[in-house]
Symmetry: C2
Subunit: 342 residues, 2 copies
DNA sequence: GTGAAAGCGCTAACAA
DNA sequence: TTGTTAGCGCTTTCAC
């Protein structure tokens, strides 16, 4: 095993080969104006010595790190991992390394991550906002650094000209509710997510609009604000509805896991799904096909979203102009399963 | 909004305040030998100007990046996200930023990530091996750079003195099989993972040993090698067993999702779980409590594992000595649920 | 308590 | 095709 481990630099290779450091540098960047013979020599020696270019030094000098910062609220469930996957794929094709951070739905952590990424000189930041974030100065800072900023899925409503990729949550939710109405449901309840986030706010709005468009009353008593997006929160919400003044015959949940929780609770209470209460969620989590009955849901095109976000970033990077508030809107996909078919 | 965006440096602050760059640097590092008044001045100006230290430059100069590289096979399911969570928590406490990479169970990608991390001058690498990895030179390279290398969950068997944190897979699997035997199962089948990976190899070995220790025959015909760790692979494997010469009365799956797939297939074939076939998986995925019957499984202590891995890394970093092959073994937790209770 | 100066490892003019 | 040189922004002796 190798012993003395003082870090090697191009200077060492240069000395060894009797070449100048610039030639070594050029060889590593595969510059066209270095002879193939020289390149071969350099690469062979590097291989033998275990030399590896220091990308920090290169980044410092070049003023470009080829690193892309990504902030997600979490990587639980299937959606954000899918997005991350899409991001990594396109980013690595374009020669970028990806720095992933989780905000854990906490604004303070989100700010810290933004700072850290900026200090690390990332060439761009992709963010899906924490759902507790209510101030946006940390995002403004990114843009003030002239660092491209692209949102995905969750965008701040209060930030003018924000670029991003979202799914048409309104449309997806509207389709769910229309579907439930067509199945004959009359008292459709809603498990609502936070109203501060575009996604869940849109789902809620679509729920209300779809009801009214079909002549059904929007009844506050049928709307429960979820504590979070877990099964437990869903079970609680379902219990609350069952204890309430109006017995729903369907529930549209802003997330899948709470819908799963509702399913368990209904079963425990001896109610049948979908005959007594139809259920639909949002996200198309894998578990939705493993429960009985399988859960109706809406697919959010996670991987595609990630890819689109990086492409948008690359576009912005190319332009010298300033940010133009581009927004890419993906079509969600309603997936009807047994939990809402009667 | 700010306009001309040439990056600021300590030199700009120094000029503005009539101080030297060293003082500015010291102020930012909160050095004790700078007067509080000066610090306050510097910080105020930085705040006003939106200056942010360039951590790349600092890392280059200091020879330490405070970045920790992490390579996971994927972030699907609940286990690896839990580990990552644990890693981030302890790492950020210790002042490290975490660079997460996914190998997608592919050796080539794993190698590329190792190279990229090393070039980025990370101070350490935490890895859970891809299950297709069969050569370990890329790991040796890390150690040859004198960069701490810590494995978690999946360790190479062929790398001497590898440090890492694992769960006692053998023990967990042994407990599962013993439990099934105590429930009266006589023909216990096994869905096996890759034999190249310590975790699934241990689960398989424990399965065989537990059978034999209880006077049951180890029958190759009851062992199916999974194509991968999805529900589909589990359904296939179950079908294969049902089509085979020996009808099992229990299945111990090396992963949870295939157990879920088996559950669905059994149900579709009109077989009852656990009465006709008892089921048990491994990982304690959240979905195991959402299906009916709920699935027996083994918890792998993901978050704890992540924390322990970082602590091990920090320990190694402190020592001047070389790697000693420390291994931390966590106790898994058998969680018995309805799918195996009869 | 503060400053001057060297240099981390690399890139990119500019020369030759 | 190759070499020389001046930094990128920061930390860190060593002075004063």
């Amino acid at each position: 095993m190798a012993k003395a481990n003082k870090r090697l630099s191009i200077a060492d290779l240069a000395a060894e080969l009797g070449l100048s450091i610039s030639t070594i540098s050029r060889a590593f960047n595969n510059a066209p104006d270095v002879s193939e013979a020289t390149k071969a020599q350099v690469w062979a020696l590097a291989d033998k010595l275990g030399y590896r270019p220091n990308s920090l030094a290169a980044a410092l000098r070049r003023g470009r790190s080829n690193m892309l910062g990504v902030i997600v609220p979490h990587i639980n469930g299937a959606f954000f991992p899918a997005v991350v996957h899409g991001i990594e794929e396109v980013a690595s094709q374009a020669g970028f390394n990806v720095l992933i951070c989780q905000s854990n739905e906490d604004e303070a952590q989100e700010r810290k991550h933004v700072e850290a990424l900026l200090k690390a000189q990332v060439d761009g930041v992709l963010v899906s906002m924490s759902n507790t974030t209510s101030h946006f100065e940390h995002f403004e800072k990114v843009r003030n650094q002239a660092t491209p900023l692209v949102f995905f899925d969750r965008m701040p409503t209060g930030l003018p000209n924000a670029c991003g990729v979202v799914v048409d949550d309104y449309r997806g939710a509207y389709q769910v509710v229309e579907h439930l109405i067509r199945q004959g449901c009359q008292r459709i309840a809603h498990f609502a997510g936070p109203s501060t986030v575009n996604t869940t706010a849109d789902r809620h709005r679509a729920y209300r609009d779809a009801l009214q468009a079909h002549g059904l009353r929007y009844d506050e008593r049928l709307v429960v604000r979820l504590r979070n997006s877990t099964t437990e929160a869903g079970a609680e919400a379902m219990q609350q509805l069952l204890d309430g003044p109006v017995r729903p015959d369907a529930v549209f949940s802003a997330y899948d896991f709470p819908a799963g929780g509702a399913l368990q609770l209904l079963e425990a209470r001896g109610l049948r799904v979908p005959q007594d209460v139809a259920l639909a969620g949002f996200s198309n989590e894998p578990f939705t096909t493993m429960v009985k009955p399988q859960l109706t849901s809406v697919d959010q095109r996670g991987e595609l979203m990630g890819k689109a976000a990086v492409q948008l970033f690359l576009q912005i990077l190319k332009r010298t102009e300033f940010f133009t508030g581009q927004r890419i809107v993906l079509k969600p996909q309603l997936i009807v399963r047994d939990s809402s078919l009667r």
